[in-house]
Structure formats: structure tokens, C-alpha cells
Assembly symmetry: C2
Amino acid sequence: MAVEQDPKVQIEQSIEAGTKFCNIFYEHFDKTRHRIGKMYHDTAQLVWEGNGVVGKANIEKYLQDLPGCFHRLDWFDCQPILSQFTSGKETIVVATGGTVKYDSHPMRGFMQNFMLTNVDGTWKIITDSFRLQKTFVQS
Amino acid sequence: MAVEQDPKVQIEQSIEAGTKFCNIFYEHFDKTRHRIGKMYHDTAQLVWEGNGVVGKANIEKYLQDLPGCFHRLDWFDCQPILSQFTSGKETIVVATGGTVKYDSHPMRGFMQNFMLTNVDGTWKIITDSFRLQKTFVQS
């Protein structure tokens, strides 16, 4: 069991890591999507609008096949997973939300939710869940 | 290191656990909120609309202080975390989305994102991130 760090320090570190991650992830997604696959762990799992995709190579292909797009991030939340739950593996959860405009489609709200693990100093995505916002009639 | 289970079985188990969890969580939240605290781990972390709350007792108080409400779930995604990342601890990620109507407020879209760990046969929330949907002008 690793020595448990001060939660405040862990939270600050997770925000720093999450901020960098979000910047790189959406930059790759929108402009250099051929590079996004390297951000996923070999055994990563993606759920894209309810469609499950398992493994880095399959996820890479799935994302490449989506149309071109532009994301605008409105917010993101970062949370460290205390090492008592991961036996010392550095792990963070990042939730994001904003709008996305896919080619030939109207702009939509979206939310996305990642779990990241630190592999030799590099953060790799182990789970990724993406959903477009549903529109609904205001009561 | 625990023996790695078949990912397909793990995914099915996570869906079963996530379904039960969602039913109980929103039932408690809307109707019996005094019981919701027991669903959180002692060291749980909540981020509620960007406000960080650490520890079960603080989370319990924070949630009790929110107005009465009614959630309608539109979707939820469940993903198991492979035991290679948690050294055998059973862990799942659950993302949810739908609408919520708080007393005296208009109905809003929301998304929520949980990480759950199995403690002696009971799933406990270790992280919880909640956001109301932003409204935006359609382009």
C-alpha cells in the first residue's frame, strides 16, 4: 500500500493534470485526430452514445470514423481517486461539458467523463463515456 | 494481483450493479434523502456544480440542504474498471443524464458521474460529480 498523500495536494495535482489533459484531448480531437489514439490505454473502454468499444485500436478507428468537429468546453471537474482504492496507482476522474459542432450537424451540448491512470509519467485514458445532450421541452 | 475476469462478464456485472445503483440513488435523492448518505464511502468526494465537498458526513449535510427535487433519468452508462488498475478491488464508473426539477426552479437537464467501489458486497460511491446542463443558443 502506497503512503496516502494529503487529499488537498492530490486534488490540486488532479486539477493540474486534468487541465492539461482537456487541452490536449480536444485539440487532438478537433485538429489532429490521428494522434488521439495514443491518449488511450491498450485496454481502454469507450461508451459513445451508448455504443461500447473496447481496446485502443478499436477506439482509435471508431473516433477516426466520426465526422470533423469543433468542441467548446464550458466546464470540467477533476477528482483524484484516493490510493486506498487503487493500491497506489495514480488515478483521476475528469468530467467535461460544453458544446460540439459536427460537420453538417447543428451545434449540440455534450458531456464526457474520463478515468485516467498514470503509466510511467503519462496519463492514459482507461474509460471514456460520451453523450450528446438531449433537448427537452421546458416545463 | 487478482485473476482478471472476462471483460464481457465484467461489463454485464457493471450494468447490473449500475442499474440497481441508479434506481436506489435517485429514489433516495427524491423521496428519502435522509437515507442517501449511507451510499457514500467515508472518504467520498463530491463536486456539485463546481463546489467540492469531501467526506461522507459533509456530503450528507450538503445534499440534505438542497431543495426538494424530482429526477427523470434519460440514460446511464456503466463501465467496469479492469482489476489491473485497482489491484483487484471491484470498481465501476456510472454516468447518468436526464432532467431534474427543483422546487421553485424550472426543469433543467443534468449529468452526473459516479465511481463506485465494492465494500464487502455493497457498492459505495467514492467520487460523485454533478452538473446542470448549460443552455446555449443554437447556431
